[in-house]
Amino acid sequence: MKKLKFFSLLLAASMLTLASWAQSADEIIAKHIEAIGGADNWKKVNSIRQEATLSVQGMDIPVIVTLVHNKGSKQEFTVMGMTGYTIITNEGGWSFNPMMGQSKPEPMTSDDLKYGKDQLDAQGEFLNYKEKGHSVESLGKEDIDGTECFKIKLTRKSGTESVFFIDPKTYYPIRISSKVVANGQEVESIVNLSNYQKLPEGIVVPFTMENSQMPAPITMTKIVINAPIDESIFKVGQ
């Protein structure tokens, strides 16, 4: 069970990073969007395919995350030759973890699905956030490991909340803290972002992410924007 949880958190984290773009108090958000490549470039993003590796003391766990803007996402991970996945679409969410002896995908809980669906926005949540029904609030500044960051709270249309800590030099988020509610209990999920790189499309994304729940950081090996994606991969059982 522990393992299952770990993987779903890992995948949620990997989704969150690429998908959650934007900032708060409109000025900071504007600067942030500019810093990560500008609204025009992000508006062109229809799909993202990330290949990544989670390396645990030499054991590499390959992870592939495929996201089609506002349609669906699939996150696959392979441990010792066995591949599991999580699929989230507007219709529902499923996870399949053969390492846990599952023989078929199982539906996600409505709590998990709520957070999952939030992350189908491939163009970043801060882009046109008002039109999307989200709201933002500046919570001032907070020291994150020695960096005095802007602290922007994003409250999504779905009701979920994340706080973005934005480096004032680069306007890149270095941490996203989300309160995840499951069974009425709040769990804080923290994702640290680093290793920002510019893609040929002109957008800037973090290539390394770490989460307190994960045993090691996850590092992107390849990110492809707007590659043709066969949406049948979001069909359960594929």
Partner: protein, 1018 residues
């Protein structure tokens, strides 16, 4: 002009460059050195406020503590999280806006006015259920807040009852009202600079009706007074604009502290416990117009200044709760009281908070001096909430056991010992009580691991045998010619740093024993001011006599023997004397005048003394003047044996100072613990920064120790238990030169090979507080000037032959980073395609002792360092055994890889021929093809699991058989057994057989099948 200007600019530049270098060092520089919270939860600590969300049926509660901030549970106490760690830790009152329960107010500064009570720094609000806080309202100088009340009909109206400062006159007291949800406050009931507002209740049906009690009170270091002309009971019917004093039927003035409660279901009914010459409980049924005397049982009348909680059941106006010395309840409106039954176990005495779930009034949460309790039967029996580590330690010490043990004494919770690390982590059950009463100094005897010296309040010094926890009272006694002995509430018990056979304690005279307290020698005259005006404790308390030794004064408060010379002894008193003897106590020299010359007020408590480890003339001390209403941080250093002193100054400082220590290795590394934080200096006290390393920023830091073997900083907090920052050597080693570098890789030196300090005892702990252990493996350490936001960070380990052994992802934080390598190689590639995972592919053999190279790669930069892995000499696991273990593990490692190749070969053939065979039209040929594929599958199914779909059904094949032996050998700190070696031989044969079989099948079938496929294609 121009030259001068230029010079000035140059000077400013120089100065700013210099201060830049200094300000580069702060808590985040050492961010990875996070404290672990040893706790415990077993005795918890004083709780000052409990409030629950009414609409949440008793699941969401906020618990305010005397010195540990605010804790929140969303599951009725199954788990708690601290939510106030960046702010003042002394909590007076909490209020939840029940109409919008995301709005929470916290008034800081506990109002249970005992001698050790801390102070607050104002009023805070959260609008997101405790995630974020802002200080509002301008109440920063009230110091103590007893109650926060929100108008139930209008959330914008908020009342704050502030008794105000305890140790001084102040205008910052009384009843405050806000009509803008706390942004601004107006004082609506003010008596005098001596009397504040102690309690407030609001009529829920008619919220412009308020009842308040005012209270005149004062402490000095040597007395307490409760009661006076400013104490009264008041009523307003116009939201606090005008007030009428209520007297009809109440005791004649002067009165002391009055606790009030209203019956929410019948709000004309109130009760009051009025401290007076004849303290008792009074009731009114007409909104306070007339009062009638009721019970004056023990719990009603005991210590009104300390027990001010009184609650009426939300639904039943006759059900009255009086949590006080013990828990009492009345079913007849306060006429008679019963006590909680002992069934279910002891409930800690001294109660200060009670919350009743209004939807289920059987459910009660009680806050005591020893934590939170839950009752589901209206207070008849109680369950202890064991996961709140908010103990209030006064002192901490350690021994030299391995792992070392931690000793400490707590407010109202006695003296305890626990291991600093133990299998499974340090849990509540690992703590052992060794002495009763309030606990203070607990000092293990370095010459005898079974002996510890502990005490209860007022100098009750004992020698405790840890094997039996039996104690022998060893308190020195008055002899002829002595004045009556005056023992501080918190009497020092100190072992000599130069000569560990010296045991010291002090009343107004200093005593030394060289035989574990069996015989004492008085080695000083009265070292205090012996000011008789400060010795009238029998008259202390005010209206209620209260003389518990808490106000004992003109006493010795701290003792220190120089680590360099047992004849150099320092003694500090609670009335401002800092005395030194250089001849083992024969003569004494009072340095107080020299200290006063630095601007530190005379009369301050000398709260700690640290003679230097490096120079006999150097000494550090802290001074605490808060009992005269002065909260400044006073710390000073003398370099000439106390003749002259220099005070440390820093804008970072907050809170009166309790303790200063000097690192025994680096004389420039100093720490100061105050009532509001822990501060460190790396440059001998010129600059200071606040330590935030998983330490509440304003923690009440009472005592500090550095363990000489592990280099751990051990912190005694008065509200968050014991905290340990494991191995602070990085703080010692961070030179200015390193600070100026972009990246610095610290010397690793030798790393002892280990599979971890402890084994795994099975299930994780259930409930209670569990502290993680000290890290078992030595990490690599590097310094980054700035957080790295672009580029990856990797640590690669190479063996002597230059082969990559392992690659570990690095962290990117500003300051010191610590990355731990498992001391293992890369795991083998194991056979894939099975229906279950196999741990063999996740585990690698531990490396052998030898020389290795570390490459730290930060983006395009690379730093290289050689280091050594060494076999631990003391281990029962010999080097020969280790080598044999490694050799066997590597044989199995190779078997895994061989098997992986065989299975991959089979799978590849299956993949290659499956479709073509299925497509064959010639049935005979197809049959042959299927025979081939079936044979391959049969073989594959012998090598890896192909059937299992449940994790609860073991399907063990050759791969699993290899793993079973492989894991055992990899994890054992032992050489391989005879049968393990035998088994490796057998596994080798099976792998060879599998290889042969696969080859044989391919030889037998492949050409034929390939031919038929090719033929049909043509």
């Amino acid at each position: 002009m121009n030259t001068i200007k230029l010079l000035c600019t140059g000077l400013i530049l120089f100065v700013s460059m210099f201060s830049q270098a200094q300000s580069d060092v702060n808590s985040s520089t050492f961010g990875t050195l996070e404290a672990r919270v040893l706790g415990p939860g077993t005795m918890s600590g004083r709780i000052s406020a409990i409030e629950g969300v009414n609409s949440d049926n008793g699941k969401t509660l906020y618990v305010g503590t005397a010195g540990g901030g605010v804790w929140k549970t969303t599951n009725a106490g199954a788990s708690f999280k601290p939510i106030f760690d960046k702010y003042c830790q002394s909590i007076g009152a909490i209020a939840i806006d029940q109409k919008n329960p995301k709005v929470i107010y916290v008034g800081t500064g506990e109002s249970n006015m005992r001698n050790s009570v801390s102070i607050g720094d104002g009023f805070y609000k959260s609008t997101d259920a405790g995630s974020n806080w802002v200080k509002i309202g301008g109440l920063d100088s009230t110091e103590h807040i007893a109650k926060v009340v929100i108008d139930p009909s209008n959330s914008s109206t908020v009342y704050v009852a502030a008794p105000g400062p305890l140790w001084s006159d102040s205008k910052h007291r009384g009843l405050y009202k806000s009509t803008d949800a706390g942004k601004t406050f107006e004082k609506i009931l003010y008596i005098s600079e001596k009397a504040g507002c102690a309690d407030l209740v609001i009529d829920p049906n008619n919220p412009s009706t308020l009842y308040a009690s005012t209270w005149e009170f004062r402490r000095t270091p040597y007395s307490f007074s409760s009661g006076g002309p400013g104490s009264a009971v008041w009523k307003s019917t116009d939201g606090g604009k005008t007030w009428k004093e209520l007297t009809n039927g109440l005791p004649a003035k002067p009165i002391g502290r009055t606790a009030l409660a209203i019956a929410p279901s019948a709000p004309n009914n109130l009760i009051a416990i009025v401290e007076a010459k004849q303290t008792g409980l009074y009731i009114t049924a007409d909104g306070g117009e007339s009062w009638k005397s009721q019970s004056a049982s023990l719990n009603v009348v005991s210590r009104p200044f300390y027990f001010s909680t009184l609650v009426i059941d939300p639904k039943d106006p006759k059900r009255v709760y009086r949590p006080a010395y013990s828990f009492a309840y009345s079913s007849d409106g306060g006429y008679s009281f019963a006590e909680a039954s002992g069934e279910g176990g002891w409930v800690h005495s001294d109660h200060h908070a009670l919350w009743i779930n209004p939807n289920n009034t059987n459910q009660l949460y009680l806050g005591t001096d020893g934590g939170v309790y839950l009752s589901l039967d209206r207070g008849a029996t109680w369950m202890f909430v064991q996961n709140l580590p908010v103990g209030q330690f006064y002192h901490v010490d350690h021994d030299m056991n391995d792992p070392y043990r931690v000793f400490g004494g707590l407010q109202d919770n006695g003296s305890w010992v626990a291991p600093s690390s133990t299998p499974g982590g340090v849990s509540n059950g690992d703590w052992k009580a060794i002495y009763g009463g309030d606990g203070f100094w607990v000092t293990p005897d370095p010459t005898d691991p079974n002996i510890v010296y502990a005490e209860s309040q007022g100098g009750d010094v004992n020698r405790v045998d840890l094997r039996s926890v039996k104690s022998v009272g060893v308190r020195p006694l008055q002899t002829s010619g002595d004045e009556k002995l005056r023992w501080n509430w918190n009497t020092p018990i100190v072992i000599g740093k130069a000569n560990p056979k010296n045991l010291y304690t002090g009343a107004q005279y200093l005593y030394r024993s060289k035989d574990q307290g069996r015989n004492w020698t008085k080695i000083s005259p009265d070292l205090t001011t012996n000011d008789k005006k400060k010795q009238e404790q029998e008259n202390s308390g005010g209206l209620s006599a209260d003389n518990t030794s808490a106000e004992n004064h003109t006493t010795i408060f701290t003792i220190a023997e120089s680590p360099l010379d047992e004849n150099a002894i320092w003694v500090g008193t609670d009335d401002g004397n800092l005395q030194v003897s250089t001849d083992g106590g024969a003569t004494w020299n009072n340095t107080s005048t020299a200290i006063a010359a630095t601007g530190i007020p005379s009369q301050t408590w000398v709260s700690s003394i640290q003679p230097s480890h490096f120079n006999k003339q150097v000494v550090y001390a802290t001074f605490d003047n808060h009992m005269y209403g002065d909260h400044a941080t006073y710390a000073a250093k003398s370099e000439d044996g106390g003749k002259t002193w220099k005070a440390f100054k820093s804008k970072e400082f907050s809170g009166f100072a309790h303790k200063i220590i000097e690192d025994p290795i680096n004389k420039n590394l100093l720490f100061i613990g105050t009532e509001m934080g822990l501060f460190a200096s790396l440059n001998g006290g010129s600059d200071w920064f606040r330590m935030k390393n998983n330490i509440p920023w304003y923690a009440l830091v009472r005592d500090l120790k550095i363990h000489p073997r592990t280099n751990d900083l051990i912190i005694a907090t008065h509200g968050r238990g014991i905290l340990i920052v494991d191995d602070i050597s990085a703080m010692r080693n961070l030179s200015t030169e390193i600070l100026s570098k972009e990246i610095h890789l610290f010397e690793t030196g030798e790393i002892e090979l280990s599979t971890g300090r402890f084994g795994d005892g099975g299930f994780p702990s259930t409930g209670g507080w569990v502290s993680p252990n000290a890290p078992s493996l030595k990490p690599f350490e590097y310094y980054l000037k700035d957080r790295i936001l672009s580029g990856t960070i990797k640590l690669e380990i190479y063996d002597e032959a230059g082969k990559l052994v392992q690659s570990v992802p690095g962290t990117n934080r500003k300051g010191i980073n610590r990355v731990t390598w498992s001391q293992r190689m890369m795991p083998p590639k194991t056979a894939t395609g099975a229906t279950k995972p196999d741990n063999g592919g996740a585990i690698a053999p531990q490396v052998l002792p030898g020389n290795y190279t570390l490459k730290l790669k930060v983006g395009s930069k690379e730093l290289t360092q050689n280091f050594k892995m060494v076999h631990p000499e003391k281990s029962s696991f010999t080097l020969a055994e280790r080598k044999a273990q490694f050799a066997s593990a590597m044989e199995l490692y190779e078997l895994h890889q061989q098997l992986a190749t065989i299975v991959a070969g089979i799978s590849s053939k299956q993949k290659e021929y499956r479709l073509p065979v299925d497509s064959l039209k010639n049935k005979k040929n197809q049959k042959l093809g299927n025979e081939y594929l079936t044979a391959l599958e049969t073989l594959r199914a012998e090598l890896i699991p192909t059937k299992q779909t449940s994790i609860f059904a073991d399907e063990s094949r050759l791969r699993e058989d290899i793993t079973q032996v492989y894991l055992a050998i990899c994890f054992n700190e032992a050489g391989p057994s005879n049968l393990q070696l035998e088994s490796i031989k057998n596994l080798k044969q099976r792998v060879v057989a599998a290889e042969t079989k696969a080859k044989q099948l391919n030889d037998q079938y492949e050409e034929k099948v390939k031919a038929s496929v090719t033929k049909e294609k043509k």
